[in-house]
């Protein structure tokens, strides 16, 4: 097992109210420490907003605007322009939103900010559902997963937001996982050094939402990466793809077995999901490979 000594700058405080064992709090700690104190945050209603805390408490050292669900990227743009007008263009603007606030209701504002290439760092905590409202599906919920609004399993696929973002040709897109914290920190630091719109999507296995054991969030995230169900990658300028974990080292079964939301699956269902993962993985390899040959 990989052991890392972590230097904490104290940007994320204890006493937050995430579910015990939630990997989002862990990821937030790494992200906030990596962006540093010269940062203004914007958060959309989500678990993240809850974790950041109710007034007058805050678990983040940075100031955060608790905006509306569909406007995270627009609000972040407004903060950035105001800072620019005041000669503080170097301050990082960090936008934090869930998958509902990103893939669904906030996609329009995000697409527009990306099209304008606003200088913001947008982090999506992707727990593949609306957890704040009790666990309904979002367009990020994967095929066959059960949620409060897909009790028989979701009939359609997870929206491929990465491809949508890549089509905007923004300078930097990445995926990250709480199982690979140094990789997450490196990606945040890299994004911070780039001007323009940067988006990092972090996979967050949700304990109640996915039916994962209290001590299994990080393990589940690691299984997702190793099975290739959630590939870790970077895309620069919308065209240069690279995989930061280049191998798919196990079948999807162990990943599915950790989660109650896949409890109903038959052997055929599992096989179907495996071939979906395999197909997506080869498409990704082709993209990354094409870029290598370019």
């Amino acid at each position: 097992m990989e052991m890392t000594k972590y230097r904490d700058n104290g940007q994320f405080c204890s006493g937050h109210v995430a579910c015990a064992g939630c990997a989002e709090a862990l990821s937030m700690r790494v992200i906030l420490n990596a962006v540093g104190e010269d940062t203004v945050g914007v958060v959309a209603p989500s678990c993240t907003a809850v974790i950041l805390g109710g007034h007058p408490m805050s678990s983040a050292k940075i100031p955060v605007l608790h905006g509306t669900l569909e406007s995270a990227a627009a609000s972040a743009s407004g903060v950035k322009r105001a800072l620019k007008a005041q000669g503080r263009d170097d301050t990082t603007v960090l936008c934090l939103a869930g998958d509902g606030g990103t893939y669904d209701i906030g996609l329009q504002a995000l697409s527009s900010a990306a099209e304008r290439n606003e200088d913001i760092l947008y982090v999506c905590f992707d727990n593949e559902g609306y957890m704040n409202t009790g666990g309904q599906k979002s367009s990020s919920t994967p095929h066959m997963a059960t949620t409060g609004s897909t009790p028989l399993g979701k009939a359609t696929h997870k929206k491929n937001l990465i491809e949508i973002l890549a089509a905007h040709r923004i300078p930097y897109i990445a995926t990250a996982s709480p199982s690979h914290l140094s990789d997450l920190a490196a990606k945040v630091e890299k994004a911070k050094s780039i001007r323009g719109t940067k988006v990092i999507i972090v996979l967050i296995p949700c304990l109640p939402g996915w039916g994962v054991a209290d001590n299994a969030a990080v393990k589940t995230a690691r299984l997702a990466v190793e099975a290739g169900a959630f590939p870790l990658l970077e895309i620069e300028d919308g065209v240069h793809y690279s995989l930061t974990v280049a191998e798919k080292t196990r079948p999807i079964d162990a990943y599915l077995a950790e989660q109650k939301r896949y409890r109903r699956l038959s052997d055929e269902d599992r096989a179907a999901l495996q071939s979906e993962v395999d197909d997506a993985w080869s498409r990704l390899l082709a993209r990354a490979g094409k870029d290598l040959n370019a």
Binding site: V40, G41, V42, A49, V50, L52, G53, G54, H55, S58, A60, K61, I62, P63, V64, L65, H66, G67, T68, E70, S71, A73, A74, S75, A76, S77, G78, V79, R81, A82, L83, K84, A85, Q86, R88, T91, Q108, A109, S111, S112, A113, E115, R116
Partner: protein
């Protein structure tokens, strides 16, 4: 009359371009804007000014009015002076965020061009778009002419920043937005002095690490509304002061309420916006034929200057409210507000509610003049009357 049309500070402008001139002089730091007829000329003129270096504004052109208002709020919360403009559908799309803006105490100035909302589609002057936003915590001003729109948008920044509430200035589609008149452009230095930069008490990124808008308990939420109530109560005074200072500087009266021949008036027409021009003509005609009529023009609609209105209407027996808006199930919004404002007054005037010009239909001088005879000795009715 030989008014000089093209002296240095007098320009022939339509209402929207007059607004853009006023905004440019107010020097906002950030302006997120989205086009909609008949507001678009404000946006275009502002972008034209900025691109020619006539003013320095961070202009954002997002994908919707919703995002424009979200960006406006965030920029204002970060300490910037912020302007945006919209109309009708755009204002209604912003609705969720209009509440947010006042709750967050962001002194944004928004210019709204009053236009009919769909369905059915129409592009006509009607004030229901902004009047239906009267509970969102925005101060609302209504303007009658391009000159008044320029003056009001500048005063709006002064009012907003004095009380930390957002201010919406409104003028009627086409009748004001696209009608052209000679407009006096105030001196830039004078406007700068009129609008000093006031450091914001709470500001994102001010080094304190304070967050904004985070969830709070019932009592604390309740307190935010009490504080807004206190701020709203200061608005009349603050706009009175801003108006009288503006009058001293420019010679143009800009009080929350404007009176025309109201001395000894037995009949007072009460209205807002472009309708006032027609009513002024009506008042002159009526006075010529010996009918003691006057006009009370409401510039400041929210908060309604209730005491001043009661005082002004004390000796009047008949008030005729002309509403260019219709709230289904009640009637004209100004009519409702005025009746509530006069409630409990000793010897109040009879208040007649007239739906005049809903949907932008023309209301001729003759129709308005006739109302004086119809209402002078008639009982008031609870039901609104549709004016032909």
């Amino acid at each position: 009359m030989n008014a000089p049309l093209f002296t240095e500070d007098l320009k022939l402008l339509n209402g929207n371009h007059a607004v853009a001139w006023g905004v440019c002089l107010a020097e906002p730091d950030v302006a997120p804007v989205y086009p909609i007829t008949p507001q678009t000329p404000i946006l275009e003129k502002l972008i034209d000014f900025e691109s020619r270096g006539a003013c320095q504004i961070e202009l954002l052109t997002p994908e919707s009015e919703h995002s424009a208002m979200a960006a406006a709020i965030a920029a204002s919360a970060t300490g910037a002076r912020v302007f945006t403009a919209t109309s009708s559908q755009g204002l209604l799309l912003m609705h969720e965020l209009l509440h947010y803006a006042s709750g967050a105490r962001t002194p944004i100035v928004l210019f709204n061009v009053n236009r009919t909302p769909a369905a059915p589609w129409g592009f006509w002057p009607d004030q229901i778009d902004s009047l239906s936003q009267r509970d969102t915590g925005w101060v609302q001003l209504y303007s009658e002419s391009p000159q008044e729109s320029l003056d009001s948008v500048i005063q709006a920044f002064r009012i907003a920043e004095a009380v930390n509430l957002p201010v919406m200035v409104n003028h009627d589609a086409f009748y004001v937005s696209h009608s052209v008149e000679p407009v006096s452009i105030p001196d830039a230095g004078m406007v700068r002095d009129f609008l000093p930069r006031i450091p914001r008490e709470i500001q994102l990124g001010d080094g304190t690490g304070r967050s904004l808008g985070a969830p709070i308990d019932q009592a604390a939420w309740n307190l935010t509304r009490r504080e807004m109530d206190a701020a709203m109560k200061r608005v009349e005074n603050v706009s009175e002061q801003a108006g009288s200072e503006w009058e001293r500087l420019t010679g143009r009266p800009s009080a929350p309420l404007e009176f025309y021949r109201c001395e000894d008036a037995e009949i007072v027409y009460v209205t807002m916006g472009s309708m006032s021009g027609t009513v002024r003509e009506v008042v002159d005609l009526l006075r010529e034929s010996g009918v003691p009529a006057g006009l009370l023009k409401v510039r400041l609609f929210r908060p309604l200057p209730v005491q001043a209105l009661r005082h002004a209407l004390a000796g009047t027996s008949c008030a005729i409210v002309l509403d260019r808006n219709y709230s289904p199930g009640t009637g004209g919004v100004l009519h409702q507000e005025l009746k509530a404002g006069l409630f409990g007054m000793e010897n109040p005037p009879r208040v007649h509610g007239m739906l005049a010009g809903v949907g932008g239909v023309n209301v001729p001088v003759g129709s308005i003049a006739k109302l004086a005879a119809d209402c002078r000795n008639a009982e008031q009715t609870a039901e609104p009357v549709w004016v032909e």
